[in-house]
């Protein structure tokens, strides 16, 4: 299965600023996703990152707040814009290939604290 590098691993940001999280996969993958995991909660899908086109957002998440790029088959970024303390969470990148038999691989996550 693919190996995912995600950075930064953690950051503390001022409210009103933006943070861009990078996700690099060591092989070409079909699909890439971004999740949010709030403290003590499970994972919530933010969006599917589509290569060469606009991301597909889940209900409750909008492009203006969480712009996503995926310029090629191995790289994606998620920006958390105009941050507020409610955005404090762990953000996870995930990827899968053409078959799901090995599941969806996850990065180690970015722990974001907004003060």
């Amino acid at each position: 299965s693919a190996v995912i590098s995600q950075k930064p691993s953690r950051d503390i940001c001022q409210r009103g600023t933006s943070l861009t999280i990078q996700c690099q996969v060591d092989s070409q993958v079909t699909m890439m996703f971004w999740y949010r995991q709030q403290p003590g909660q499970s994972l919530t899908l933010i969006a599917t990152a589509n290569q060469g086109s606009e991301a597909t957002y889940e209900s409750g998440f909008v492009i203006d707040k969480f712009p996503i790029s995926r310029p090629n088959l191995t790289f994606s970024t998620l920006t958390v814009s105009n941050m507020s303390p409610e955005d404090s969470s762990i953000y996870l990148c995930s990827a899968t290939g053409t078959a799901t038999n090995y599941g969806y691989t996850f990065g180690s996550g970015t722990r974001l604290t907004v003060v």
């Binding site: 299965s1 995912i4 995600q6 699909m31 996703f33 909660q41 499970s42 994972l43 919530t44 899908l45 599917t48 597909t56 996870l92 995930s94 899968t96 799901t100 038999n101 090995y102 599941g103 969806y104 691989t105 996850f106 990065g107 180690s108 996550g109 722990r111």
Partner: protein, 110 residues
């Protein structure tokens, strides 16, 4: 709307005390069910994929089973290093949407 429910929310076992974690789901068009392990401060680590009712997968002390409505993760003679949160997830839809359960936090006491 797809729903995944895991129980119990938390489980405390003595080392060597076998038990099972439950994942029940209500989805349309199940394409697969995953089990993950998540340690604090880390991303989920893939354990198993199950595709159809009756299927079973094993890895060391873990065994996952699947029926048409639920999946079980059986832990045989657990060790303290098995302490983690275990997540269940289902894959549905044409673009393989993944829905996660809320997890079971397992603590194994020496």
């Amino acid at each position: 709307e797809d729903q995944v429910t895991q129980s119990p929310e938390a489980l405390r076992l003595q080392e060597g005390e076998s038990s099972s974690l439950n994942c029940s789901y209500t989805v349309s068009g199940l394409r697969g069910l995953f089990w993950y392990r998540q340690d604090p401060g880390k991303g989920p680590e893939f354990l198993f994929t199950l595709y159809s009712a009756g299927e079973e997968k094993e890895k060391e002390r873990l065994k996952a089973t699947l029926t048409k409505k639920e999946s079980f993760l059986h832990i045989t003679a657990p060790k303290p290093e098995d302490s983690a949160t275990y997540l269940c997830a289902v894959v549905t839809g044409g673009y393989q949407k993944v829905t996660f359960g809320t997890g079971t936090k397992l603590q194994v006491i020496p």
